[in-house]
Amino acid sequence: MHEKTPLIRLSKREDMPKRRIWLIRLGAFVVALLLGMIVFWIAGANPLEAYESIVVAALGKKTGIRQVVRNAVPLLGTALALAPCFKMRYWNIGAEGQITMGAVAAAFFAINCKTMPSLPLLLLMGLGSIVFGALWSLIPAFFKSRWGTNETLFTLMMNYIAIGIAAWLIGGPWEGKKGSQIIPVFRDEAVLPKVFGVHIGWIIVLVITVLMFIYMRYTKHGYEIAVLGESENTARYAGMSVGKIIMRTAALSGGICGLVGFMIASGAHGTLYANVAGGAGFTAITVCWLAQLNPFAMIVISLLLAVLTRGSSTLQTSMGIPASITDIITGIILLCMLGCEFFINYKMHFRKSSGKEAA
């Protein structure tokens, strides 16, 4: 038997015009919304009404918009933190834990500095959270650079250890009223001030967005990260100290995650919960990847997910649909967007019909 040419042959492409790329992504998003309609239909709701209700609840009123921004801040901040790691092909999926450790550090200063005025206290909390997040991230990075320990799995484990430590502090040494298993609300001086009704964290992450864009694109560090991501051997031959770059980048990433933890604890919650990260560390990974590591695209995607979360949180009361539908729709959107990248990165050649392409 002789081999036939396969029905579909693939080749890589890098020449697709920008407009086509965005059309494909838009198409994937529309497909995801259509698939989501099926889920609403199963739940016994009118899909169009449900979508309308999501948009209205999220963007119709000031309180809704504020909640959207509040939800988007940790997603955007964490996605930005992960960008240099992913560019380097260092799979830091430990953001959840790094956020938690940052929040723990912030809470430490909020609880123990009982008389400090607001500004130095907030600065101290922020600095402490950066240091703690960075140190937590440095542990797996050290073993990665020294012995090549698998960072994906190590950082994953570190998440649960961090959450365990936070839970212990909340239920033990830092517990407020005996047996309450929570710590008292931070005093006012330790709470981030608000600008336009949302804690100042949204301005901080926007600043980080610009800084991260510059860092990745125009600095020596950014260049080293890019080279290392393309090929470790190239980086070595070029005389770069691979271990140092890995540790530096992981520390930067963990530091920003820690700062996000500070913003959630001090800005959004006003206290420390064990699940302070609330899954943002995981969702942000998908945000970062879908944005193709582009900081500005991350703003759009994190806002989109935040609208979805906020909008569908009201569905339970308004239409009797389980709130978990948020996760289903989010999941569908993420999976569709992940899939559509294929049509951007690869060209399909069909047997016989050469020259034609399907996208």
Binding site: S11, L153, M157, W168, F282, T286, P322, I328, L334
Partner: protein, 331 residues
């Protein structure tokens, strides 16, 4: 003396009971990872398995009424959860193998989707029934009771240690042994490992990388999802609980590493982790806070990961191509 023995026996049986979901969750993921696919969606798959397994048993119990047979209910639950896992793993396989999407990100997206879908089905059942989803006691017993006659179960020490478990424990043991033999003693198992170590080499040797990856990932996903069903139907007491399953899938992923990607290790590994999950209740250690006690499995796993990478023994390493997509034209 007698008291100590009783305590140890009770502890071991509880550990086995809590390890049973992990047996499935972990061995399914080992099969997946052996093909070079790292599916971080186990948590989502187990949620789906748990919810759909419960839905299957519940629907059957309602339809059959008094004539419902326990064996049929167990089979339906097994099938429903397996099918749910297969469906979830198919999404993952299509995206990562055919469309070559990033595995970590796709796995996490699958976890978000799967936990949502599981919760959704569970909550929807509760809303439709108007209260807790209840299954008749006979059916419940078919899931949680031992398949062995009472005479065997009543033998002191040996009875509770060997014959007292629910049917899934024995199923799990058989499945793990079969998987161990398959991976290590059969040609197809060798091919599968080759695909996970070096897909390019396997491809050059005429092995169909895509097919092996698809089959391993889809089967592995189905097996993992059964673990979720076992959790819901035995440990959680056939009730859909809001947070009950959360974390089980991640423990299973941790256990894959702890077992060094060998199914046979998951036999004792899942009992050990099952013990660690409940030890803080049964055997409190002074000065060790429960919250820290609970994360001991993760600390162990991290230590194993470090030790394995320092010692660099070849047979202990993760599959070399783990986490990477294969594209033949990519060189």
């Amino acid at each position: 003396m007698m008291g100590t023995i009783d305590f140890i026996v009770a502890l071991i049986s509880a550990a086995v009971l809590n390890g049973a979901p992990l047996m499935f969750g972990t061995s399914g993921e080992i099969l997946t990872q052996k093909s070079g696919n790292m599916n971080l969606g186990v948590e989502g798959l187990m949620f789906m398995g748990g919810a759909f397994g419960l839905l299957g048993a519940f629907a059957y119990g309602n339809a059959a009424g008094d004539s419902a047979s326990g064996v049929v209910a167990v089979l339906i639950s097994l099938l429903c959860s397996f099918a749910a896992g297969v469906a979830g793993a198919l999404i993952f396989s299509f995206l990562t193998i055919t469309l070559r999407a990033n595995q970590n990100v796709t796995g996490l997206a699958l976890t978000i989707f799967g936990t949502g879908a599981g919760q959704f089905v569970g909550e929807l059942m509760r809303i439709r029934v108007g209260g807790n989803v209840a299954i008749s006691n006979e059916l419940k017993l078919a899931f949680s009771g031992s398949p062995f006659p009472a005479a065997l179960q009543n033998i002191p020490v040996v009875g509770p240690l060997l014959f007292s478990y629910n049917v899934f424990v024995y199923l799990g043991v058989i499945m793990i042994i079969v998987m161990h033999r398959f991976l290590n003693k059969t040609r197809k198992g060798l091919y599968l490992r080759a695909v996970g170590e070096s897909p390019a080499t396997a491809d050059a040797a005429g092995i169909n990388v895509t097919r092996y990856r698809y089959i391993a990932t889809v089967l592995g996903g189905g097996i993992s999802a059964i673990g979720g069903m076992v959790y819901t139907m035995t440990i959680a007491g056939t009730v859909w609980n809001h947070t009950g399953l959360s974390g089980e899938g991640w423990v299973a992923v941790a256990l894959v590493i702890f077992c060094l990607w060998k199914p046979i290790n998951s036999l004792w590994g899942s009992v050990l982790f099952g013990a660690l999950l409940i030890l803080y209740i049964r055997l409190p250690i002074p000065f060790l806070p429960t919250q820290i006690y609970k994360v001991v499995p993760y600390i162990f796993t991290a230590l194993v990961l470090i030790m394995v990478s320092i010692r660099q023994r070849r047979e202990d390493q993760p599959p070399a191509a783990l986490g990477t997509a294969y594209f033949r034209e990519d060189r």
